[in-house]
């Protein structure tokens, strides 16, 4: 009798009449969810969509152990629109769904920082594939982890690279976001230590008309224009600077790492002293473990993986592994969120495709890779083949 009622319940689930709660009570499968948050629409969707796809692919390929334990793991993708308000609103929806045990997410530090406050209050673990602002982890939350480097190191990498290139004067521009302004400040500090004269430090939310900003920049004719922020602004600024006859060098950060930069800037990025950017994520092909990932990704989505797609894959992998460990410790029952968060920190030398990860006590990876990449082609399709001019492995600052 009981069995019949169970199957009746399952049918209701199948009919879509009930959601995860009843499903886990009645059906054999214990449903757990992993949410992703990244910009799926708007300026930064090129990268954001592939973070989601990377996570999706990981769930398909690495979900077997959990399935064997009787879990049904679902992906719950959310669009944070690269907007803090949207991110926080999504975060509230995510934490209110008890089936969600981990969040892979955020492309923008400015979105991750307020959203993770919500995860923190409900003990939900967040593995970030891309957020580089120091504050992401320095708040010391148990729930927040990242698998990439930090801006206080990335800015330094940029400034050291500029000094090595013989840059004597620089003008620093940023987008006033937590991420862009943060990295620009670290760049400026280190540049001054490197005896580079910083002619100006300006924030701007302008997206189109940089004429007024460029007058003082071009008048000072610095060796380098540094932009802390995202490609869709930086590339427009760089293009207009070239059009005004500026011949020096452009340097930006991992926010610049998007084929849109080539689409907007085109040949102007290659002219003059060229364009470089520092990043915490090389093109997927530089990591030794990604060959299979790239083929699988192309087969599934019929496109090359964008920057941070492989990191999306690894973040999902880490989340799944942690859920698996926590579930095993909980007699194969659905673990608590706290147990999952602790399991992420307890992972030792997780072998992902972009590296081997062990988190320190605030959630930074013990060693992170930093790259400086030169833009060599005006063709957006060739973005992933831009050459790496420098690779560094640096531990996070204490």
């Amino acid at each position: 009798m009981l069995k019949r009622r169970n199957s009746l319940f399952s049918m209701m689930v199948a009919a879509g009449l009930s959601l995860a709660m009843i499903g886990s009570a009645g059906a054999a499968d214990k449903v757990v969810k992993v949410a992703t948050q990244s910009p799926l629409s708007g300026d930064q969707s090129v990268v954001g969509v592939d973070i989601k796809r990377g996570a999706e692919l990981a769930l398909e390929q690495l979900g077997a152990p959990l399935a064997a334990m009787g879990f049904k793991v679902e992906l719950a993708p959310f669009d944070d629109q690269a907007n803090p308000d949207a991110g926080v609103a999504n975060a509230k929806r995510i934490v209110s769904d008890p089936a969600v045990l981990a969040v892979v997410g955020h492309y923008n530090s400015g979105v991750q920082i307020p959203s993770s406050e919500v995860y923190h209050t409900s003990g939900l673990v967040n593995v970030s594939p891309a957020n580089t602002n120091p504050k992401v982890t320095t708040r010391g939350y148990l729930e927040v982890n990242r698998i990439v480097g930090r801006d206080d190191v990335q800015g330094v990498v940029g400034a050291d690279f500029a000094a090595a290139k013989g840059v004597k004067t620089a003008f620093v521009v940023h987008d006033k976001s937590a991420y862009g302004q943060g990295i620009a400040e670290f760049f400026k500090k280190r540049a001054e230590e490197n005896k580079i004269k910083v002619l100006g430090f300006e924030g701007t939310e302008e997206k189109a008309n940089f004429d007024a900003l460029l007058s003082p920049i071009v008048a000072g004719n610095p060796d380098l224009i540094y932009f802390g922020g995202m490609a869709f602004q930086a590339a427009v600024l760089f293009k207009q600077a070239r059009e005004r006859g500026y011949e020096g060098m452009f340097l930006s950060d991992d926010g610049f790492d998007s084929p849109d930069a080539a689409k907007i800037g085109g040949k102007t990025l290659i002219a003059g002293a060229g364009t470089y950017y520092s990043t915490v994520s090389g093109p997927a092909s530089v990591y030794p473990g990604t060959a299979k990932f790239i083929t699988d990704f192309k087969a599934k989505y019929n496109a090359d993986p964008q920057p941070f797609a492989a990191q999306g894959y690894d973040s999902m992998g880490i989340s799944l592994k942690a859920i698996e460990m926590a579930a095993a410790a909980n007699k194969n029952e659905v673990p608590t969120r706290e147990a999952v968060a602790k399991a992420v920190r307890a992972l030792k030398a997780y072998k992902g495709i972009t590296g081997t990860y062990t988190f320190n006590d605030i959630g930074d990876p013990e060693k992170a890779l930093y790259f400086v990449i030169q833009v060599k082609s005006a063709d957006p399709a060739a973005w992933a083949s831009n050459p790496i001019v420098q690779t560094l492995e640096i531990a996070p600052p204490k």
Binding site: G200, G203, A208, N209, A212, S215, E243, R244
Partner: protein, 390 residues
């Protein structure tokens, strides 16, 4: 030909050119003088020494050497503002309400034009186009952008404003704000459904990105002037449109009817003027101008998104108010002044405040000036202080 010339009102062709020249040169000269005097005064103070430390150049020669470039940039954006401002001011002239949806008419123009160019690019005709063909394609895109924007403006008037013609003035204003949001999201929807992304980048073709440079020696200081071909296109196109508009309003029968309707709608209809038709024409003309301005804006600044209309729209509206809303010459003057003010502030604020307030404060500065002007001349620079209309 002779017959044709007899009907052509040459005075109305020459007058706007004179006005534009006078306004551009006049306001540029006034602002240049102010900034140069400021530079002279501050040269020997902390502001001057800070600049010498940084760039090894005196404040005065820095100001002077940047001046021509700043004026050119300011005029370019100023003419764009003027072209949009005319759309606001003409509608205000006939209906006494602010058509806040005009900024989205501008955005639609930008999107239609850019999509046409992207389509031409996918056909493969853009990349290898000769200079002549490049201009032909650009003209085609501008034309289609104008038609789309003009058609949309007329439709919006028919659907959203005409039923509210006799409602209190606040009602169509609210409707206009609603239409504005509606259109923004409509662009997002349509672009998202058809192309998958709603931020579009204008294709690079022709010689529009080239730059004409010159050098001027003035005593010890050398002045470098540069203007990109696309800035020239923006200015020339805007000037042509403004001349055409001026001719339409001041020298044709339709224009006479528009002026009559704006003076007194009821009496005009008693005189046999089809008021509805004239209002539609007004919206059409405003939309045509706005659509062309949209594509010119996209050409100059490369990247567009569905919210692109907001800031130029707000600024053009401001320009219309500054010049005296309802007054077409005023909109032209207001646009030029606002464009110059903003560019002057953006370019010099950082240096004159020793880096404390950079170009990000340009709008605050420009709008403070606007408030000051309106305190002393609430009717705007060229507006007439008329009593409440019947």
């Amino acid at each position: 030909m002779k017959q044709f010339l007899r009907y052509l009102n040459v005075k109305e062709l020459v007058r706007p050119i004179g006005q534009m020249l006078a306004f551009s040169l006049g306001s540029a000269a006034v602002m240049s003088a102010i900034i140069l005097i400021l530079a002279l005064v501050l040269d020997k103070t902390a502001v001057g020494t800070a600049l010498v430390n940084k760039l090894n150049v005196s404040l005065f020669s820095y100001t002077l050497s940047n001046l021509p470039q700043v004026v050119i940039d300011g005029l370019t954006i100023g003419f764009v503002y003027a072209a949009i401002a005319l759309g606001y001011t003409m509608v205000y002239g006939v209906l006494q309400f602010i058509n806040f949806a005009h900024s989205e008419i501008f955005a639609v123009g930008a999107f239609v034009g850019v999509e046409v160019l992207i389509f031409l690019q996918t056909l493969g005709v853009l990349s290898g186009a000769s200079v002549f063909m490049a201009y032909a394609y650009l003209s085609l895109a501008i034309l289609l952008a104008m038609l789309a924007a003009g058609g949309l403006a007329v439709t919006v008037e028919k659907i959203a404003y005409r039923p509210l013609r006799n409602a209190p003035r606040l009602v169509p204003l609210t409707a206009a704000i609603g239409v504005s949001f509606l259109l923004q999201d409509l662009i997002r929807l349509v672009e998202g459904l058809t192309t998958g992304q709603f931020n579009r980048i204008i294709p690079t073709f022709g010689n529009f990105d080239d730059r004409i440079t010159g050098k001027l020696t003035l005593g010890a200081t050398k002045l470098f002037i540069g203007i990109s071909v696309k800035s020239i296109i923006v200015i020339v196109a805007a000037v042509l449109m403004l001349i055409a508009l001026n001719y339409l309003v001041n020298a044709t029968k339709v224009g006479k009817a528009i002026r009559a309707v704006s003076q007194d709608m009821r009496t005009a209809s008693l005189m046999g003027i089809n008021v509805n038709r004239i209002i539609s024409i007004t919206f059409l003309v405003g939309g045509l101008l706005g659509g062309a301005a949209g594509l010119l804006y996209a050409l100059k600044f490369t990247r567009i998104d569905p919210f692109i209309g907001f800031f130029p729209g707000i600024k053009a509206f401001t320009a219309a108010v500054l010049g005296g809303i309802g007054n077409m010459t005023g909109a032209l003057l207001g646009g030029i002044i606002l464009g110059l003010l903003e560019t002057f502030a953006g370019s010099y604020l950082g240096v004159f405040t020793m880096g404390a307030a950079g170009s990000e404060y340009k709008d605050i500065f420009a709008f403070s000036i606007l408030i000051l002007v309106l305190i002393f001349r609430p009717q705007g620079l060229m507006g007439k202080n008329v009593g409440q209309k019947a």
